[in-house]
Symmetry: C2
Subunit: 550 residues, 2 copies
């Protein structure tokens, strides 16, 4: 299905439900199950990463599936908690679920507004180096954040640099059980991933035994997160039964579905600073709404603003924290052969079932296993090659990349904002100071190298004036506008002043190569002394001499 | 002298002082005197507008003159308090001189930073409609703000709409004396201004009597503010001597020069909210620094960031509030025939002298006369014709104009920020969605109408893909990049994805009209299946058929 960022004319579910084929059902069921088996362990792990009680990960994981089933336009996208979103939430919510839920509501509203107002194009201004710098840094930050759980350390601060310092300082306190388990889980996850990607799916021609063994490899690769967590849980349970416990466990998680109620807008504030707090929250949510949408601007299928906005707003009524499209689970969905967004119903149901019946079993999941789940999800996001590629292709793009990458270690938000600002300033500079080609001759032939947006016009004026008056005798000017596709009043005014200034020195200015729309605007402005010609040769002749093109 | 926004290699005073000619001295003296006679009454009036004690107007008026003498690059620009700056200060400082002085310091720092970091080009992004909307609205707001002083009303709120309501409601309380004096002053100012602009300067050929009468007209026109205030003061003094006082007077102003001390960074805060307050102040100052610089982006000579930054920073040490280039006094300076920035020394000295010796006389200046001075300074800023012009030339520009104009009545800052945002979004949209010319044929000839900045590349990709695949059989594509002047990695990546996507459907993509710099970037990116040709005809032939240009 084509991807779309605009709200659709009709409910997207109406596009595929009426022609739903029964042949799709088993495939959708299977894919939903596969995604669900990834979702449940990831949900617990990401909630830990977000600094929230673990049930909030599950609370956040079902509404997106249901909403996307109705509003989704791509068959394989899955909405839910992600590692990066959890990292962002952790820096904002500071262990306070009420904040995280309010954040989901506010960023949902912002996404809805952006979707309905067609402001999606603003996301195109997040350049690729910024995204790469951010995801690469987040991959390192998140992985390191989980080292403490692998090593069984407690009381490590959240800030990256302090974390590195404290982790290294206290590396001697490593608990052997956690470390062994965590590293084994990491190895198992990496191995299962590698095996699945290298073993091809068996064709129908092969023998049953081969096909079954292939199927086993494929299933254990796809559901590797669930398998590893399940296995680790069994090991921990066995130790518990034997009366010793070498692992830090998840601990008890409240059973049952979350209540359906609107998010709370105010905490019992100790003093009268509620309006300020809520201001900060709106600001943070605006930033968040932007960040939530980072994945939109990448190349893979992404949820539309409207669907992720609705999912977040509705999610905030069931204690969800902000969610977005998950790359990893979308890939699982696609590889499992999903046919329609209906697969999401199965995933959502699986999450609800775990909440209702399985939470008592989650008690035995070792934290080191969840840490391994997170690390194996984020390590592929690191891309060391991008530095070399940019050095080869376009060195200037290294600036936003490095700014984003480095500042993200301080605080992810700062990194993204700084990166967008830097790449924005580079963009604005190229708009405000376009290349201007000047050919000397009896008259000056000036050709702006790209479109003449209003911020560039004063620069053009200064440049033309200084060049025209520098020669003796001063020379008239032909302005070749073949690259100018539109013009606004500020630019018209700048050109009018240029005309005037040249006339004051007894010089002429002739335009050539004007597009119709530009010509019309200039004619309607009634510029004094305005003259235009189809080509620069004619313009040069009209000014009394032909320009020599250099 | 040419105007410059960049810091200069050497101290600008060294450019003109060594070759100072004695013939310039009388002209500089005269001009400095003329500007000084305008500055002193305006300084008192603007301080009243800013909601500060009147001496602060004078405190703010001398440092700019001295600094600009050293750092100025244009001979006629004068730095000092202006009506618009006073309006901005009034909305921020809320009658608290400490705030206003700190604001001068902070905005000076911001201006210095912008000057030293060469960020002046950012100001080109304030489009002409925004400036016009803002100054026109400010002209109305400021004039109406002074109506209360003309009518002798007291206790009128600051907010424009409340002001209009209260002023109309209490119009019956008008004091006859103030109203008569205020209206007479307004009429006198308008008359003197009109006479001066219509009577030409007498040539040396005319008789002495004619020349003297011309000179009188010219002097009284140029120093009209001082004359009117002086005359009004005399009238008030006469009434005082006679024992009755029909006018509201300025009242006593502390005599003497301001102390030289750094601005205070904290008030005695009642609770622990100082960091928040200072945050807000920095934010406000950043905005202010931007606003201070609005006049830069207009066509007339403006102070450089460095000189106005230094003037504001040093000014804050002598209790100045933020200052900027004054249009009115710059015009007076130019018309008085100033030759070098040395005229500023005379003006500054005149202000210092008034502070040292004349403050007791200022007691008798009626507030209505000062109000008339302000109104006559700001009324010419209103430009009703701009609405008609934009309607004729470029209707889209009416949007930022109207947004700015209307919101400025609510609060000037909001108006400017909203206007810049709106015109920024229009600009960004035109960058993100450039016109793309598509010519159908056996192959598709696609030509981006302007430069291909990174935010536009995804749009281009979607557009090309949908058009190429829409036809049956799908068609190969020639991308004519003759208008593309530069390209960055995000755009390269988008083109790579386009190539890939077309190849997946068995189609080719050929580039033509690439500029050298663009070609180099594309070659270094090693795109799979990349092919380029000098012209689209050759590209079309290479793809096996010639495109038909529509």
């Amino acid at each position: 299905m084509p991807r779309s960022r605009c709200p659709l004319p009709a409910l997207p579910i109406l596009r595929w439900l009426p022609r739903y084929s029964l042949a799709w059902l088993p495939l959708d069921l299977l894919a939903g199950l596969a995604v669900g088996l990834t979702t449940v362990p990831q949900a617990l792990a990401y909630a830990e990463l977000a600094g929230l009680p673990l049930q909030y990960g599950l609370y956040s994981s079902f509404m997106g599936c249901f909403v996307y089933c109705f509003l989704g336009t791509a068959k394989d996208v899955t909405l839910g908690p992600t590692a990066i979103m959890s990292l962002l939430v952790s820096s904002y919510a500071s262990h306070e679920p009420v904040h995280a839920v309010l954040l989901a509501f506010l960023s949902g509203c912002i996404q809805l507004a952006m979707g309905l107002l067609h402001l999606g194009f603003l996301l195109d201004f997040i350049s690729f180096p910024v995204i790469k710098g951010f995801t690469s840094a987040a991959s390192i930050t998140i992985s390191f954040n989980q080292i403490k759980n692998i090593l069984g350390l407690q009381g490590i601060p959240r800030q990256f640099f302090l974390q590195v310092y404290e982790t290294l300082r206290r590396i001697g306190e490593t608990r052997a059980g956690d470390a062994v388990l965590g590293l084994s889980c990491l190895a198992a996850l990496a191995g299962l991933r590698a095996v699945r990607s290298q073993v091809p799916r068996a064709g129908p021609a092969e023998s049953l035994a081969v096909r079954i063994s292939h199927l086993i490899v494929w299933i254990s690769g796809t559901a590797r997160n669930a398998l590893v967590v399940l296995f680790a849980g069994l090991v921990a349970y066995s130790f518990q039964v034997l009366g010793s416990q070498p692992f830090r466990l998840t601990g008890s998680i409240p059973q049952g579905l979350p209540p359906f109620r609107p998010p709370r807008f105010s905490l019992a504030a100790p003093n009268g600073t509620v309006p300020f707090q809520s201001m900060v929250q709106v600001g943070a949510a605006a930033l968040q709404g932007l960040l939530c949408s980072l994945q939109h601007s990448s190349a893979s299928p992404a949820p539309s603003f409207v669907s992720s906005g609705v999912a977040n707003v509705l999610g905030s009524f069931v204690s969800s924290y902000p969610i977005t499209g998950s790359f990893g689970r979308t890939a699982v969905n696609a590889q499992s052969g999903v046919c329609t967004p209906a697969g999401g119903l199965v995933t959502g149901a699986l999450v609800l079932l775990s909440l209702a019946y399985l939470t008592s079993l989650f008690y035995y999941i070792p934290k080191a296993a969840l840490a391994a789940v997170i690390i194996s999800a984020v390590v592929p996001m690191f891309d060391a090659g991008i530095f070399r590629t940019l050095w080869r292709v376009k060195k200037l793009d290294l600036v936003p990349l490095c700014v984003t990458f480095l500042l993200c270690f301080w605080e992810v938000q700062y990194g993204i904002v700084a990166g967008v600002l830097v790449s924005g300033i580079l963009l604005l500079y190229s708009i405000a100071r376009p290349p201007i080609k000047v050919s000397e001759g009896a008259v000056l032939l000036v050709q702006p190298g790209s479109s003449l947006h209003f911020p560039a016009v004063e620069h053009l004026r200064d440049c033309v004036c200084s060049r025209a008056l520098a020669a003796s005798p001063p020379r008239s000017v032909v302005l070749d506008c073949c690259h100018v596709s539109s013009i606004d009043y500020t630019a018209v005014l700048g050109l009018a002043e240029l005309l005037q200034e040249l006339r004051r020195h007894g010089l002429s200015l002739a335009f050539c190569g004007l597009k119709d729309s530009v010509l019309q605007v200039l004619l309607s402005a009634d510029l004094e002394g305005f003259q235009h010609f189809p080509s620069w040769e004619e313009a040069g002749e009209a000014l009394g001499c032909s320009p020599r093109v250099g």
